[in-house]
Assembly symmetry: C2
Homo-oligomer: 218 residues x 2
DNA sequence: ATATGTGAATTGATTCACAGCG
DNA sequence: CGCTGTGAATCAATTCACATAT
């Protein structure tokens, strides 16, 4: 099962599912590519093309059933499975992720917490004990983590990624602002809101609401 | 000054600048498209093409000067300016952003905090007092926020976006997992790590390390 | 009659090959 | 001679138009 669909399509499918969930929440039963397009800010063409990568969903002339498109989207995105996750780095960020509510709504389960700081080892968050970093390979054999979240300082991120990858993890969420080198078949998703701010600053460059004094950025 | 370069190019420029900063940190003076490519995980072609959108940077035959490419990247990305930011929603997420250290390294300054909850109004974070939501238009006139960060629950996000936009803000960082509708010229950057997890689950779909029991996702 | 599903056309981004400059 | 800068070629994604199914 190779990734035939473009990455942009997958990102949009995630949006479509969000919209469908809103439709489900208000009890809507039928919808159309037009209605989905409206709520997702894309064209109806785009939606039909995106869905077409994965088969046929609706009935011509009448549209889509909210329930079936919802189920199919969940299946396509792999959200009908459960994923066990290891967080590496239990500093402020790691701790914040721990009790983030929205994750449990899907099958994302945090099942391991690691830190190289002996002061952190043994602490408990959300009922899970922090293990020392060097126990990761051993614990991996028992718990088979599907995903790893890298919440360590930039300087340590590549080493953590290597450890996770050699333990068999093939999906990494990387909060550190560095490019990770991983072998073919391993997927890295960067999460970096400062990078997003920089995309915004590019958008605003040269036209601030108020002209500010120039300043040397570091 | 329209956005001539593709969005993907801008994202890569941010990566290049990160690499250049590492080069600066170790005192490296010269580099090449090849070296940058290596450290950024892209092709040397891509780097030269990306830079070419913005002019000429290096000297043929010898490569790039780390200092000049660093300066040019900062200029292109608008990072030599200062941006005043309003955070809306001072719940856990808003508070966490408040004392995030990496932001001050660039010219991103948090200058306003807003919340509609009277219990939050008047509290102080990082030396800034939380103002009531309805004072945003007034304060906007005094402080001219360049960017808005939306850290409110999904249900309130669109309304907050509308308020910010009509106050004149043209760059929004949206932490709520909803699609925001904004007029032409306003840029929205979504930040949603659960969406990133879903991209990972798509990557893993049907091939978990360990086969898990099926489960109905919501 | 209506809205999906899809081949064809178009647009855009990436890759390449090499011309141009130091 | 080496490495940048760039037009041309390839590849990919989006848009369109319409045939198709209900």
């Amino acid at each position: 099962m190779q990734d035939q669909a473009p990455a942009a399509t997958v990102s949009r499918l995630i949006t479509y599912l969000r919209v469908i969930r809103q439709f489900e929440a208000v009890g809507l039963e039928r919808t159309s590519s037009e209605a989905l397009a409206e709520a997702s800010n894309v064209s109806a063409f785009q939606i039909r093309k995106d869905l077409a990568y994965f088969g046929t969903f609706g009935t011509r002339g009448s549209g889509y059933l909210v329930s079936t498109i919802g189920l199919r989207l969940r299946e396509i995105l792999g959200l009908t499975d459960v994923y066990d996750i290891a967080i590496v780095g239990m500093g402020r960020l790691g701790q914040a992720i721990t009790d983030y509510p929205a994750m449990g709504e899907y099958g994302f389960r945090i099942r391991g917490m690691f830190d190289s700081d002996p002061g952190k080892v043994g602490l408990e968050f959300a009922g899970i004990e922090v293990s020392p970093m060097d126990s990761l390979p051993t614990l991996m054999r028992q718990r088979n983590f599907d995903m790893g979240m890298i919440a360590v300082p930039s300087a340590a991120a590549q080493e953590v990624a290597d450890t996770l990858v050699s333990a068999g993890v093939r999906a990494l969420l990387n909060f550190a602002p560095v490019v990770l080198n991983v072998p073919e078949g391993v997927m890295v998703e960067p999460v970096d809101f400062v990078a997003s701010l920089k995309r915004l600053s590019y958008h605003l460059r040269g036209k601030p609401v108020l002209r500010h004094a120039a300043r040397q950025a570091t």
